[in-house]
Symmetry: C2
Subunit: 143 residues, 2 copies
């Protein structure tokens, strides 16, 4: 019988380990994991309002502000004023667009290697078990 503490302990550890691997890989592109998450998001959806980004990623607004400021400094994104002057619209720079395919491929390979010991069925199984953690009876999942 596996103790519940062990499960949470390992969950925490695995996420730290994975983040470390991703950061190691991204080092060659002068990128960090959370910056990559935002690039991926912009690649998928095109230009987005800041609010759309942090709501989609499920993080707080100040966290996103900070990361975006760094990404603007390193020329991954630009932020332009929206018609509503409160909002800022975030978009990829041409340089980012250019580099994105290579980064995407690197990440994809890493993800494949990290999951290589699980079959497709096991990956699906894992995904749904994961999703059910933290969900109370009759409650909608928070993700």
């Amino acid at each position: 019988m596996i103790s519940k503490s062990d499960i949470f302990h390992n969950l925490h550890q695995q996420v730290r380990f994975i983040t470390k691997e991703v950061n190691e890989l991204l080092k060659q592109y002068h990128l960090y994991s959370s910056q990559w998450t935002i690039l991926y998001c912009l690649d998928q959806f095109g230009p987005m309002k800041q609010t759309d980004i942090w709501k989609y990623l499920n993080v707080e607004a100040p966290t996103t502000t900070r990361t975006l400021v760094r990404m603007e400094k390193s020329n991954w994104i630009t932020r332009i004023e929206g018609s509503d002057k409160r909002e800022r619209i975030v978009q990829l720079t041409p340089e980012a667009e250019e580099r994105l395919p290579f980064i995407k491929e690197s990440i994809q390979k890493l993800e494949e290697s990290l999951l290589s010991q699980l079959s497709t069925e096991e990956q699906t199984e894992f995904y749904y078990l994961l999703k059910r953690i933290g969900v109370k009876k009759g409650e909608r999942p928070h993700v």
Copy 2:
């Protein structure tokens, strides 16, 4: 078919969600999640060298130093010099010993509630699937 990116994205989100819940619970004890992890460790094994702690928890030494300094300030632990004058031995204060059972019970209840949607078998299944992530062929798990 679940995309691998989705799996990692959700893994990250779930861990953030769980940590948030734990921190929320621990607020009443003026504790934080990583401090609790160390208390739990000391409760299990008794007084430990700092090195033993960070090796066991699989984090870097400076991270542990910082957390221990905070815990010393808030009177959860003391650090005494070992016979080897380089090392510091960490132990619970009497106050910590006193409060520990109540905190343990609170955490246990939270963990039960977080896992309430999974049967014991599913928890075991989840644990072993989790463990196999990041393990390359013929390699020993890193946790």
